[in-house]
């Protein structure tokens, strides 16, 4: 009896001591770790050598997202070799990010690029912890005194790809394999669907876009099997995707050449994603999206070197770079001489043989010409680039022209795919309808938080 009591007492004491120590410690830690506002130095001198580090969520060998960031890194590392040293850390999970940043800073790195949306909160956290280090976070929306954000967006390219898809499809069934259906990808799906519908309607096709989500940025097996499902079960003959491997391109090539040989009854044309992918499917890859992160990295690092960006003024630095900046490109390949293959030469004759009406001018043109006209319009919007640099000026970006003294000045491109009338439904609740009135052009914030699909997109859920 007494022994049991003794035991109970000991346990009780341990618990009490533990709890007391726990709260004591918490108060101590709470008091001790209060972040103190960094004293702003009177004058900021940019470091003579900039040590910049890139943190990637995937492996640099993915041939997609992380690969293209690393290409950007290599370009700036050679360009600014006099005053810039770089390094990178790959396959960093969200959990390992803080420790990776700590390690980098302990080794003297003073500019850190974190290139995944998941890194947003922890980048801000670490930004507060190291107020004298500059951070740039790719694809997020949270900023701090020393944390800027940047993004190069592809929706215009997806629209152009969509035009081609609408021209090529025979079944009218178009596919999209999505990594996640986050707003960025939803935006791209919609732009692609809008392009396909615009072209398809003119050709009397009933366009449907089927979307499968695979739940991973890099998963060749899942991507391949999702694409296969769409091709086989939904008669999809043209497909775009968001995933960082080349698996779908290879699958497309197999199906398309099989179609040419008569093995299959329909082909699978595909659009390469993120990096030039034409060589992975010389018959099936019709076009694609290419990104040039170096355009943004050059700008950021040059401005740091010049003392324009400091750890105290990044709060509103937000790059939202579109086709006119050169940060993104419409095409599937870059030739050695630097010219871009916008559309696979094998496909061009097919597009040239289709005649459609350009709804902007009413002219009868070939499908090829229509696509290239739209490309030119979006590519040439000279006043837009500086607006796309800061968060404060995003509100001006969807103004196509302004009038002064009776003259017109071009700000944004004369055409934007996200212009009403459009109708769709909420992703979370398909019964909730979304209507964009005729003539209204969506701005940065609408696009950034896009959570609805246009009506002819059918979300099939998670598959693969």
């Amino acid at each position: 009896m007494s022994k049991t009591a003794l035991w109970a007492i000991i346990i009780l004491v341990i618990i009490i001591v533990g709890v007391a120590a726990f709260y004591g410690g918490m108060m101590y830690a709470g008091g001790g770790a209060q972040p103190t506002a960094p004293a702003k130095p009177a004058k900021w001198t940019p470091p003579s050598t900039i040590k910049a580090a890139w943190i990637y969520v995937g492996p640099v060998g993915d041939f997609g997202w992380s690969y293209m960031h690393d290409v950007g890194r290599k370009v700036v590392a050679s360009l600014f070799k006099d005053w810039l040293t770089t390094t990178y850390v790959e396959s960093v999970s969200e959990d390992a990010l803080p420790q990776t940043i700590d390690n980098l800073i302990s080794q003297g790195y003073n500019v850190i690029f974190t290139t995944s949306f998941e890194f947003m909160d922890k980048t801000i956290e670490k930004g507060k912890e190291y107020p004298n280090v500059m951070f740039f976070h790719c694809s997020g929306y949270k900023r701090w005194d020393n944390v800027g954000t940047y993004f190069a967006d592809l929706y215009q390219i997806y629209y152009l790809n969509g035009l081609i898809a609408g021209a090529l499809t025979k079944t009218g069934h178009i596919g999209y394999v999505a990594a996640y259906t986050i707003p960025e990808v939803v935006r791209h799906i919609n732009a692609f669907a809008i392009g396909a519908k615009e072209m398809g309607e003119m050709l009397g096709k009933d366009i449907k876009v089927y979307v499968l989500e695979i739940g991973s940025w890099f998963n060749p097996d899942a991507a391949r099997s999702a694409a296969e499902t769409l091709w086989r079960d939904y008669d999809v003959d043209v497909l775009a995707y968001t995933e960082d491997s080349t698996a779908i391109l290879e699958l497309g090539e197999e199906k398309t050449t099989g179609f040419f040989n008569g093995t299959y009854d329909h082909p699978l044309y595909v659009f390469s994603h993120y990096s030039p992918g034409w060589i992975y499917g010389k018959h099936a890859v019709v076009s694609g999206q290419i990104v040039h992160w170096e355009v943004i990295y050059e700008d950021i690092l040059a401005k740091i070197k010049a003392g324009i960006y400091t750890p105290y003024n990044l709060k509103n630095v937000d790059y939202w770079y579109l086709l006119n900046t050169g940060a993104v490109e419409f095409g599937a390949w870059i030739f050695d001489n630097g010219t871009v293959m916008h559309i696979n030469p094998e496909i061009i004759p097919k597009l040239k043989n289709i005649t459609v009406t350009d709804k902007l001018t009413g002219e009868k043109v070939s499908a090829y010409d229509l696509i290239m006209r739209r490309y030119q319009i979006m590519k040439e919007a000279p006043l837009l680039t500086p607006l796309q640099l800061t968060a404060e000026t995003h509100k001006y970006e969807n103004i196509p022209t302004i009038t002064y003294d009776g003259h017109k000045a071009q700000i944004a491109p004369a055409f934007d795919p996200f212009t009403g009338p459009l109708s769709g439904y909420k992703k979370e609740d398909p019964n909730k309808k979304v209507t964009i009135e005729s003539g209204k052009r969506l701005g940065h914030d609408d696009l950034w938080g896009m959570d609805w699909f246009v009506d002819w997109v059918q979300y099939l859920g998670k598959g693969g």
């Binding site: 022994k3 049991t4 003794l6 035991w7 000991i10």
Partner: protein, 490 residues
């Protein structure tokens, strides 16, 4: 071997031991539990390295640092437990240890040699039999054959024959005598004096890590050897009946008990018995006649199919072992190292594991003083109560178990072969302690034993068990040895 000394933490296991063994002889190494026999053999086999002293083989000093060295010198050990792999055949097991055939041993050739050697034993055995089908005796025979095929010159037999039935043992004796006649050397390690007297040419007696004397077998009598082995204690050795208890009142009552064996079928078939306070109730019988299952069933370790067990009038038929332990029942199982102690744990841990000594919280001081008391009372040779049991000799391990269980048995002791691993002097001493406890503390004891000497020495009542049934119950003073032996094998 010259001046061999080996120290373990806290004890000197061997103190300047000299041993000379000649080719063509069977040399017995005798000693009580913990005398240092096993240590000496392990040094010779390269498992231990001596702290001092040298080993001289055929006039040359050798260093044996592993069993591989030993085998290269022609020294092979056969130990108490066969080192065979069950899922291999006999031939495959033997090939494992053989280098002379290279890595691609021709199984056929080896099988032929095995059959030939088996015939020398007077046994026919198929070398392609899977090992798990063999009996203990057959496994030991395979060990001997392996030793022969290894080209053994000096054969170390470490208690390997001690637990074999007498007829089987004699066959092995014949075999090693043949080996010795062909010039081989045998070192026979045992704590049983009759075994040494029967098989050996020469006998060396070890006591407390020292050599007492080396003698020719023909020069001495059993009593001389006893004196050498136990010194003063040899006087204690006697096989007279211990003073009788005073049976009074019923303690344990077993009624028509039916218990299944390991392989189905009833190992215990309707056993009824009654153990009184102040009585040693002994069950005689040849191993495997249901004694083990009977005791396990009483202890709650084996399900009872039919029948009832009462303890102090209370029906305990389906009660747990835990319940019986707390009631004051001590239990000494067969194969103590397997069922009775955990050799990786320390002595005090092996005591504290019995629920009567610690429930919930463990008072190590209390356990430690109990351990010290038991070490003193039972003369357990150990560096400290915190020593892992594996550092103790076989007999001392048994003493740890027996002392713990006797201390636990405040009402009833259930035991199976309680003195099997002990040397003569210790065994008799343990019997005395059990008997004294029965008389003085008025407890009951239910003891099954395969040793009739033990039964006659300790029992107040003798029951004979055969084929799962009690075939006869006799008051000890009226029991006749011949009759009981007859009932055992009938």
């Amino acid at each position: 071997m010259r001046n061999i000394t080996k120290r373990f933490p806290g004890v000197v296991a061997l103190d300047r031991v000299n041993l000379e063994v000649y080719p063509g002889t069977i040399h017995a190494l005798l000693g009580e539990n913990g005398a240092g026999k096993s240590t000496l053999v392990k040094i010779l086999y390269g498992i231990y390295t001596p702290d001092e002293g040298v080993i001289i083989l055929n006039g040359r000093r050798v260093i044996i640092s592993s069993p591989i060295d030993a085998i290269n010198y022609g020294i092979v050990m056969v130990s108490q437990s066969p080192q065979l792999i069950d899922r291999l055949t006999i031939a495959e097991n033997i090939i494992l240890g053989l280098k002379k055939y290279g890595y691609y041993a021709p199984v056929k050739l080896v099988e032929r040699e095995i059959s030939k050697l088996a015939e020398e034993f007077g046994v026919k055995i198929d070398p392609s039999t899977d090992t798990w089908k063999l009996s203990y005796t057959q496994k030991q025979m395979v060990e001997f054959i392996r030793a022969m095929l290894l080209g053994v010159k000096i054969l170390l037999i470490d208690e390997a024959l001690t637990y074999l039935p007498i007829e089987e043992r004699r066959r092995f004796y014949k075999f090693i005598k043949g080996f010795a006649e062909r010039g081989g050397t045998v070192l026979l390690i045992t704590h049983k004096i009759p075994e040494a007297m029967e098989a050996a040419d020469k006998i060396t007696v070890l006591r407390r890590g020292r050599v007492v004397k080396t003698v020719e077998k023909t020069e001495v009598t059993i009593d001389d050897i006893r004196r050498m082995m136990f010194g003063e204690r040899s006087k204690e050795i006697t096989y007279e009946r211990l003073p009788p208890g005073a049976p009074d009142g019923e303690l344990l009552l077993v009624e028509n008990l039916w218990v299944e064996g390991d392989f189905g079928g009833y190992a215990v078939q309707g056993v009824s018995l009654k153990v009184r306070r102040g009585e040693v109730f002994a069950i005689a019988g040849v191993a495997g006649n249901g004694q083990k299952e009977l005791l396990q069933a009483i202890m709650g370790l084996r399900p009872i199919r039919k029948g009832k067990v009462f303890f102090e009038g209370e029906d305990i038929t389906h009660r747990s072992t835990y319940y019986l332990r707390l009631k004051g029942v001590g239990y000494i199982p067969d194969l103590p190292a397997k069922y009775g102690v955990s050799i990786e744990n320390t002595i005090i841990e092996n005591i504290a594991v019995i629920p009567v000594y610690a429930r919930g919280f463990i008072d190590w001081d209390k356990i430690r003083s109990l351990a010290l008391k038991l070490i003193r009372e039972y003369d357990i040779k150990t560096p400290s109560p915190e020593a892992p049991v594996k550092y103790l000799s076989g007999g001392n391990i048994m003493k740890v178990l027996v002392s713990r269980e006797l201390n636990t048995a405040t009402k009833l002791l259930v035991a199976y072969n309680p003195t099997r691993a002990l040397d003569e002097a210790t065994a008799i001493r343990v019997r005395r302690i059990i008997k004294n406890k029965v008389i003085n503390d008025n407890i009951g004891a239910l003891i099954a034993s395969e040793d009739l000497d033990e039964i006659f020495q300790i029992a107040d009542t003798i029951a004979v068990m055969n084929s799962g049934r009690i075939v006869g119950v006799f008051p000890a003073e009226k029991a006749k040895r011949e009759e009981i032996e007859h009932l055992m094998v009938m």
